[in-house]
Amino acid sequence: MATSILDLGLDRAAEIVAEGDDLRLVQALRGGTEEAYEELLARFQQPVYTLALRLLEDQSEAGDVVQEVFLKVFRNIGSFRAQSTLKTWIYRITVNEAHNARRWRFRHKRREVELDPAAEDGRSFEDVVADRAQSPFEAVFDRERRALLDVALERLNPIFREAVVLRDIMDLSYEEIAKTLNVSMGTVKSRILRGREALREQLAGDLERASALQLLPEDGRVSL
């Protein structure tokens, strides 16, 4: 008996739609249409950059990785067999490229000394100018929270970081993470668990304290 799409779960239905979209996009890319290239960039350039940046914590390296990823995608789209979704395939390339970049950095950049520590601040123009949606206190709090998480993620073992980033930041399912990292489901569960635990221990109390700070004005007095 044929199964209607309405009988399927929402996740599975969304997956089928995504697969259809992927096939259409892949066919268009193989045909070399300009719109296909634009669509691929529009759909994936931001997530790939976010993933690369979260895995490497370095803007310039993330930029290089993004370019490498899309170069490989464009050149190897002909060999994409649709055994996984396009998103999973592209994320797998990103994770591998980030891994290569990290290895290269470990080998070549260990002895480099940063001449301009201020550049490591990573605050863009948008971060510096006033955001009308937030009070200054909220902005400071958000920045503090982000900095804490960034540092904690950076210190995390790269193996666990990949799993946590893919799950909690990129919002991939366990199955997608397993395909992306090319590991078993049990390994995915284990890495996510250990990654989260390591983060929790690193941040022990920091995020809670920050949350409590959010309720207090700068002079420490509680206003009713």
């Binding site: 464009f74 050149r75 995020l207």
Partner: protein, 234 residues
Amino acid sequence: MSCEKVQKLISPLLDRRLAGREREIVLAHLASCGACVQRLQALENLRSNLRRLPSPGMPAHLVHKLRVLASHERARQMTRSSWATWFGHWADRLELTFNNLMRPLALPFAGGLLSAVVVFCLIFVPSFGTAGPLGVDPAIELVTTPVDGTVEGAPGETPGEILRGPALSCDKTIVELDIDESGNVRDWNMLLGQMNEEVKNLIIYSHFIPATYFGRPVPGKVIVALHDGRDART
């Protein structure tokens, strides 16, 4: 179930990866264990904070680079689609390479050619630049022979009348004249015909442009043939 086992299952519980009996056991444990609830809250807080992390904006130059990359890769893909496009692509590449090689030479070449044309015109075309005197510069002719100029005529006659006058008595007379530096006839030698008064007058009152040697007038010789009152130099 012990706290240690439950705490290992909190992470999958948050991700809704626990089902059935296992999930019920964990929930039942959490209902009665403050420490495990605290761990659940900590992980939940961590997860929500991670999810709230803002998506970092892509640098504009990176977006631009990706567009350029996509454009190049598309062009590369298109060149491989058929032999015609492949040849067209390589023809374009060759033309571009040739143009890039030639373009730096174009301005010096054009400048050199223009300069050569201008210099050529100034030197070899008389009407270009300094017109007139330079065109008839006698100094250029290093050695010249005497040339007959005007016939002054005998005393009492209008200059030139001898040449236009009545026909000479002889049919043909050829005379070799010796011309001095001032253009006057210094001596003569009859080569053909007879000397008479008319011929003598003509010779005596003729004035020649003397021969020159490096611009200086020098003596020279000229042979004159007279036919019926007209002369023809040789």
